[in-house]
Every structure is written in C-alpha cells, then in structure tokens.
C-alpha cells in the first residue's frame, strides 16, 4: 500500500504536462508582477529539475528523441 502511494506521488511529480502547466503558471505570476525574479528563479529551478528528470526517463524508455512507436518487445 505504502509503495502504491509513493508510485502515485512519483507519477504526478514527474508528469510532463503537469510540470509544463506549473511552469506556465509561474510565468504568468511573474508577468503579472506577483512574484519577483528571485522567487521565480527558485521555483523554476525546482520545476526544471523535475522536467529534466521526467524527459530523461522518457528517453530512456524509448530508443530516440522523436516519435517512437516501437514496442517494448522489440528493444532487446
């Protein structure tokens, strides 16, 4: 059970669409003058780190950086 919860947290933490939405929200807050550059940088660093991990993980499960429709079974 504990492991399933962790899996779900992991999945959300590294969901690219979710991270993209958070980056956009951050950008809007900055453009609206609600946060300063320093806060933006701190929060953006954290999001970009998650984005980098998310994308690297996805590449690892694919064979290249474009659309890849090859199935798992073909990989060995």
């Amino acid at each position: 059970m504990a492991e399933q919860v962790t899996d779900e947290v992991e999945r959300q933490l590294y969901d690219e669409d979710r991270i993209r939405a958070e980056l956009l929200q951050l950008e809007l807050e900055f453009d609206d003058g609600l946060i300063d550059d320093e806060e933006r940088t701190i929060r953006e660093d954290e999001l970009l780190e998650r984005m980098a991990v998310a994308q690297a993980r996805r590449q690892f499960s694919e064979t290249n950086g474009w659309e890849d429709t090859r199935s798992q079974t073909d990989e060995d």
Binding site: D31, Q59, G65, W66
Partner: protein, 249 residues
C-alpha cells in the same frame, strides 16, 4: 577507432557542417559522428551520467540554436543518451537514414517560431460580462445574499463565465492564427494549458519570411494592446515539426 564513452545526442545535421563552438552539457566539447551525408551532433558524458536540471536543459537548447545558425537541424528532445559512437551510427543514423535525409531536406531554410497569446485578466472579465447580460443580472442577484442560499446561482454564474471565456478564446485564436498561417509552411496549435491563454502555437516559417511574420506580429500586438500579451520565441530549431516513426527500424 571508435570512442567508448557514452554520447549525449543533441540532434542530426548535415555531415558537411562543422560542430558548433559549444561547450556541450557538463562542459564537454561538441563533436560530429558522421555516416555518409548525415551527422549526429553529440558530446561525451563523463561516467555515463549528466546532472539533470536547468543547466543541462539550457545547454541542450543553446547548442541546437548554435547549430541552427549554421544550417538545418533536426533537434532531439532533451535527454537522449546512447551507449557509444557505434550505437549512434547504427541505431540512429543508419536505422533511420531515409527519414532523416528526407526531413533534413524538407526543413531546409525553415525555422520554428513559437507564439503565446495571454489575456489581461481584468479586461477579459469585463468583456465577457459585457457580452452576456445574464452574467451581470446573476451577479447582481447574488449581492448581499448569504452564500449557502445562492449555491446554484453561483454555479450557473461560473458556467456562463467559463462559456464566455471559451467563446473569446476561439474567436481570438482563429483571428491570430488566421493572420499568421498564410505566412507559414505549417502550424501546430496546442490546447491552451491555462484559462488565460488565448493561443499557443508553433509555426514553421521560411527564414526569408521571418521579417514579414514579425511585422504581422507587431500589427496584431498593436490591435490587441491592453487586451492580449503576445510572446514570440525564436527562431528555434523545428522541434514541433520533426517526426520519426521507428516502426521499420
């Protein structure tokens, strides 16, 4: 002799090109792995690992933009690592040679421009209310009435506002894309990821038409001033227009 070290792959360019000055991710030098007329733009990875974060992602983007100033680039998404030089040649350049060549040819002389149009929130709300008298009527009817007594009216108000925003977004996105599509070779519009985004789109544009595209953007910006904020990014390598189906690999 082939190098044993793992390779970070940025993209594919013509074998006639020189590698950009760099440096690459982790400070490593950029090199080309060539196979006939194709070349993969790569750098070595120390110990097979890269520090994932802002620096690596910006370096990836910067290297590709450097390469773009010298010629056509098929950009990879961030994070592609291959085991060694042989793997890059066999699994990327040889396995997908035909598609890489045809896409390099198709994308020659073209760049990606990314546009995002964002509403000024208050102005959008004023417009939405002005266009639907029912919204004003409902809002006025809620004044001074306890919250729990107006539950359904509040829901209805929320729905009317959302529908009004949706209508504005459709109209604005159609107008903006309609003005820019004739200046582009192709367009990829994404579903807005936020309610204040009117349009989020990538355009594939011929280099020689960038100035014309910019002029049109300026014109739209003037018309929409105070209402929509426009942000144009580029010229970028054509990330949104590279496709590689690997089914036949």
């Amino acid at each position: 002799m082939t190098s044993e070290s793992a390779k970070y792959v940025y993209g594919v360019i013509s074998a006639r090109a020189d590698p950009p000055a760099g440096p690459g991710i982790g400070g490593a030098g950029l090199e080309l792995i060539r196979a006939e007329d194709l070349a993969a733009l790569v750098s070595d990875i120390d110990g097979g690992e890269i520090a994932l974060g802002r620096e690596a992602m910006t370096t990836h983007a910067r290297v590709l933009e450097q390469a773009l100033t010298a010629g056509t680039v098929l950009p990879m998404r961030f994070g592609v690592v291959m085991t060694d030089e042989d793997a890059v040649r066999a699994d990327l350049l040889d396995a997908h040679g035909a598609q890489l060549r045809s896409q390099l040819e198709d994308l020659t002389g073209k760049v990606e421009l990314k546009l995002r149009a964002t509403y000024e929130e208050e102005r959008l709300m004023r417009e939405v209310m002005a266009q639907d008298p029912e919204i004003l009527r409902l809002r006025d009817s809620l004044r001074g009435v306890p919250e729990d007594a107006t539950y359904y009216a509040r829901i209805q108000l929320g729905e009317l506002v959302a529908a009004g925003v949706e209508r504005a977004r459709h109209a604005d996105s159609d107008a903006i894309l309609g003005a820019l599509v004739p200046l582009s070779v192709a367009v990829e519009a994404s579903e807005p990821a936020h309610e204040r985004i009117a349009a989020d789109a990538s355009f594939l544009v011929e280099r020689k038409r960038i100035a014309e595209f910019d002029d049109e953007m300026d014109r739209i910006g003037r018309v929409q001033a105070g209402r929509l904020r426009l942000k144009l990014t580029g010229p970028l390598p054509p990330h949104s227009f590279v496709r590689l189906a690997a089914t036949e690999a």
